[in-house]
């Protein structure tokens, strides 16, 4: 039953490994965007500490958006997507595998380097675990919602721009609760409520987004 799931996961991870430059570009983009802020707003530690959660989260969101259009584009162009849609196993399974592989290669690296960048912006050390946790819960939501957008804009001229317009508003709640969790922890009010909401969002997206994504892919390839 899960053979398609693992086949797609293994292949996408292998492709990410063969094209590791692409993965590094996304990560470098994340690091550079965060590093630009001290230059832009000045190296005042109090100010940087205050904007750190928002900056890290917005940068993570843009890094995710930057690589989203690649999620299905290659498979669409070379006909692999047609073959996957003709699979005798439910499309939801391999869609989920693609999103998981996407998150492992773009979301997870961001989660891993984020604490270092948090230190760079003088974020309180006590808030770093919450930053990691909020990104670990939030970036999969970005990948799941983004995949629906990527599927809908597949094969559309100027799809990349349209994807950003379509999907950025949907990222807003994730941004609010993700950055809010870090801020709440830093100001001492506790991040539990925000994290629980993110967790709930993840559960919802995990259940619904693959179905919407599979349906969108069917429409896009028709």
């Amino acid at each position: 039953m899960l053979s398609t799931f693992f086949a797609v996961l293994r292949r996408d991870l292998l492709l990410a490994w063969r094209g590791r430059a692409d993965v590094m570009v996304t990560l470098a983009f994340f690091v550079i965007v965060v590093c630009l802020f001290p230059f832009g707003v000045g190296a005042e530690p109090n100010l940087l500490r205050a904007i750190a959660p928002g900056v890290l989260w917005v940068a993570a969101l843009l890094a995710c958006l930057l690589s989203l259009h690649r999620l299905f584009a290659q498979d669409y162009a070379d006909g692999t997507l047609e073959q996957l849609l003709l699979s005798s196993e439910p499309a939801v399974l391999w869609v989920l595998a693609k999103i998981l592989a996407f998150w492992l290669t773009t979301g997870l690296p961001v989660v891993v380097v984020a604490p270092g960048l948090g230190l760079l912006l003088d974020l309180e050390q006590g808030a770093l675990p919450v930053l990691v946790l909020s990104l670990a819960l939030g970036t999969p939501i970005l990948a799941l919602l983004g995949a629906v957008g990527a599927a809908l804009t597949l094969g559309v001229r100027g799809g990349g721009m349209l994807l950003a317009l379509l999907i950025l508003p949907l990222f807003v709640p994730v941004l609010i609760f993700g950055a809010g969790a870090v801020e709440a922890e830093a100001s001492g009010t506790g991040a539990l409520a925000h994290l629980l909401l993110l967790g709930g969002g993840l559960a919802g997206a995990l259940a619904l987004a693959p179905i919407a994504c599979a349906a969108s892919l069917r429409i896009s390839t028709e």
Partner: protein, 208 residues
């Protein structure tokens, strides 16, 4: 058995064909004919369930294909225009993935044998981007050797870019599949040496 009644296909805002009916029984080979742009590929996509018909329905063993998609796709092998090859993977990796993605078991040994049999013994571990058009097409067709248990084969221009020897081999493989009780539906502009004369369906006769 595959049946379709009264099929109509809309492409953009143009009706390609309407009132098209077809029947394909076990052991039959159906060639879809017609000039370029008449809707041959569109018909194959309708029949395989990749696209939805504007009117009419396609039935497999008496059931509309949309009703039990997974069961229909278990019986179907579709090789489209695009070869479904990723340039960064080797032919072997590509073939193994295609088989597994379709929901079948694929061990490296039988995939390797299929590629050797179709004439790619020396290209097994090269990335697909260095293959020629004909070799790329062969990788896609190597699936046929591993999918004999899928009765319905739908092939879009399978002979394109193949050399004379490969065309003969492929025609033989398709004839064998039909002899064994399978069904083949294909488009081609070439006269291929099939063992039995194929049924011909001219889409042009239903064009609007």
């Amino acid at each position: 058995m595959l049946e379709a009644d009264n099929l109509a296909c809309l492409k953009g805002d143009r009706l390609l064909f309407r009132g098209l009916a077809l029947r394909l029984a076990a052991g039959e080979l159906l060639r879809i004919a017609g000039p370029n742009g008449v809707g041959k590929t569109s018909l194959l996509r309708l029949v395989s369930g990749l696209a939805l018909a504007e009117a009419g329905e396609v039935r497999w063993k008496g059931t509309a294909i949309g009703r039990d998609r997974e069961a229909f796709h278990r019986d179907l092998l579709y090789v489209g225009h695009a070869p479904a090859l990723n340039d960064m993977l080797t032919p072997l990796e590509n073939l193994q993935f295609t088989i597994a993605a379709a929901g079948d078991e694929a061990d490296a040994e039988s995939c390797m044998q299929a590629l050797v049999r179709i004439g790619l013994a020396n290209q097994l571990d090269l990335p697909a981007r260095v293959l020629s058009q004909g070799q790329r097409r062969r990788v896609g067709l190597a699936r046929l050797f591993l999918s004999a248990r899928r009765p319905l084969w739908v092939l879009d221009e399978p002979f394109t870019a193949l050399d004379v020897g490969a065309v003969e081999d492929l025609a033989g493989t398709l004839s064998d599949h039909c002899t064994a009780g399978g069904m083949v539906m294909l488009t081609t502009h070439q006269d291929a040496p099939f063992a039995m004369p194929p049924k011909v369906l001219d889409v042009g006769a239903f064009a609007c």
